[in-house]
């Protein structure tokens, strides 16, 4: 028993996973089957959306859509992008919605990174009155996702005249503790000797920030950017409340509005090509920047 296990262990020791050690006595086939089924179930809704975006509204509305691509791909996507006018729905050109979503996601990501890197720098590298008071104040916001305080926040927004503005859409989502906590955590790992050396060389706090701290933070900034871009792109409740004119809508809100009451008489072909436009940017970001995304996700949440 022991010798057998020991021999197997020596074979497997170089591997990275842990449960591979279990696998030695079982075959891998059932594992592959389960994982492939999982992958197919995960991908099926998106595949079907793509198929839906290649047929005409009539075929889908009759419930006669095949599971293979149809002939109307180019027409549907062009229509959705430039006007989104179908036989039954009057949508809004998706190119405008995409532009709004892109602006929103970029502004939230960049804005949040800038304000949190600055505040974390102040908290980590300075000693000043009320330091812990401010830190605690920022930390508290970690507990309050925008959803729980929508009603009062909306009231504040309308008092400030920020309804239907890009500022109203983005600024309230920039303030949260995650970025500050992440950067503070990282800044605390920068050795004291760096600060001493900077002081001896006569570099002030701003010079130190710009020449040392920021370059060291590059990968953290990239990781946070990917996570925040997706967070911003996928917002739903907030844009739903803050935008009252259709030209300010984001793509995610826009496609749900196109469906209306969800009847069969919707131009599903346009809804589905709109949906593909809505999901493609964040999915591509996750797939292409997977390393940063995973790093950012694990760091901001843990």
């Amino acid at each position: 028993m022991i010798t057998k296990s020991a021999r197997n262990l020596s074979v497997h020791l170089t591997r990275q996973g842990v449960l591979h050690l279990i696998a030695q006595n079982t075959r891998n086939l059932p594992v592959h089957v389960i994982l492939i089924v999982a992958v197919i179930i995960f991908a099926f809704p998106v595949y079907l959306a793509f198929i839906g975006s290649t047929w005409d509204a009539g075929t889908i509305g009759r419930g006669a859509m095949p599971l293979t691509p149809g002939p109307d791909l180019v027409e549907n996507y062009t229509n959705t992008l430039t006007s989104a006018q179908g036989g039954r729905v009057k949508g809004v050109a998706v190119q405008g919605l995409l532009w709004n979503s892109l602006q929103m996601a970029l502004l939230i990501a960049i804005g949040k990174i800038i304000i949190s890197v600055l505040s974390a720098y102040a908290i980590a590298f300075f000693d000043f009155r009320f330091r812990m008071f401010f830190f605690g104040m920022i930390f508290l916001t970690w507990m309050l996702p925008i959803e729980v305080r929508i009603a009062p926040t909306y009231k504040v927004m309308s008092d400030l005249g920020l309804i239907n503005t890009m500022a109203g859409l983005t600024i309230p989502l920039m303030a949260s503790a995650t970025g500050t906590l992440l950067f503070r955590q990282f800044f605390l790992t920068i050795p004291d000797e760096y600060v001493e050396a900077a002081k001896i060389d006569g570099a002030g706090p701003l010079r130190f920030f710009w020449s040392i701290v920021l370059p060291l933070s590059r990968t953290n900034i990239a990781a946070l950017f990917v996570v925040l871009f997706i967070y911003g792109w996928n917002q739903y409740l907030w844009p739903l409340l803050i935008t009252t004119t259709r030209d300010m809508e984001t793509i995610v809100v826009g496609i749900v509005k196109m469906i209306g009451t969800g009847e069969a008489q919707t131009d599903w072909n346009l809804v589905m090509s709109g949906t593909v436009f809505a999901l493609l940017p964040p999915v591509l970001v996750v797939i292409l920047m997977q390393q940063w995304f995973v790093k950012g996700l694990v760091q901001t949440e843990k």
Binding site: S5, M65, S119, A151, P205, V283
Partner: protein, 294 residues
């Protein structure tokens, strides 16, 4: 924790903090204060007079049968989503943790749904389960099983759970996988040398060792099910049929925006804030107690 060597500057740190603190005060503390203030006031129907009513709004909310119903829906919904997501994600993670051909590809192929917005997930699942045009919805009806989530509250509930869980499974999968891969290999070796079976190894060694991850995901999933699923419900069922998918979050939205009952809506916001605080507090307490694991 603080550094030994720091910069000394009279004004700079306040200047650096200013943007974040300003946004935090304007968009967090002011609204939260307003919510608490509004929650103890009542306006007459014309909005001309307000009076202080102590905790009457809370009393009204908590004794409202519709609110009690929303609490029940929320609890059943959150528990269903959380259990479903965690069981499936852990199964996938255990599978993908094995050293098999294409492990990295599987990881990517199981991770991407996390990028989808909950509302987009709802639209995709609606297109599959729509009773007359959806591939599966129509097939169910043709096979003699009447399927219409617009009319049947159980079916609506199940569909909302599926659409909500889909992207969250991808999220939990990533964390479980990371948790499993950080278990020290020596521990697993020792168990195997002692002759532990695969199941025994999982139950007695791996599962206890990833319990910090499990508990963390438990709280994350509860918060997700409470709040982030608003998009799914709004896009898919609008809280219906009847009130079968009206969660506390959806009800707060309806009462605050559609019915414009400010006092009770503010009281609902305060209750939601308390719920989140309790979950986050529980998480911190647990993390503190289990620090030696991580």
């Amino acid at each position: 924790m603080r550094r030994r060597v720091v910069f000394n500057n009279r004004f700079l740190p306040y200047f650096l903090l200013a943007p974040q603190v300003a946004i935090t005060i304007i968009f967090f503390f002011w609204p939260a204060g307003q919510a608490i203030y509004q929650s103890v006031l009542r306006q007459d129907p014309f909005g001309l007079r307000t009076k202080f009513v102590y905790l009457e709004n809370f009393q009204a909310v908590l004794s409202d049968p519709l609110y009690i119903e929303a609490i029940q829906v929320t609890v059943i919904f959150s528990v269903s989503v959380t259990i479903f997501v965690m069981v499936v994600a852990l199964l996938f993670a255990v599978m993908a943790d094995r050293q098999i051909r294409g492990a990295q590809a599987y990881k990517t192929l199981l991770l991407w749904p996390y990028a989808l917005a909950p509302a987009v997930a709802a639209v995709l699942w609606m297109f599959i389960f729509h009773p007359s045009i959806g591939v599966i919805g129509k097939a169910l009806n043709n096979s003699g099983l009447p399927w219409d989530y617009h009319l049947n509250s159980v079916q609506a509930f199940v569909l909302v759970v599926i659409a909500s869980s889909w992207k969250q499974i991808a999220h939990n999968f990533l964390f479980f996988l990371a948790g499993l891969q950080s278990v020290p290999i020596a521990v697993v070796e020792a168990a195997l040398i002692d002759g532990a079976s695969a199941w025994k190894l999982f139950r007695s060694i791996l599962f206890p060792l990833i319990s910090p991850t499990t508990f963390y995901l438990l709280t994350v999933n509860l918060v997700f099910a409470f709040f982030d699923t608003f998009g799914v419900i709004h896009a898919l069922t609008r809280g219906g049929p009847g009130r079968s998918t009206t969660t506390l979050m959806y009800k707060a939205y309806m009462d605050g925006y559609v019915n414009l009952n400010l006092g009770e809506s503010a009281a609902q916001s305060v209750i939601l804030i308390i719920i989140v605080s309790v979950i986050v507090w529980a998480q911190f307490r647990y993390m503190e107690g289990k620090v030696h694991y991580t």
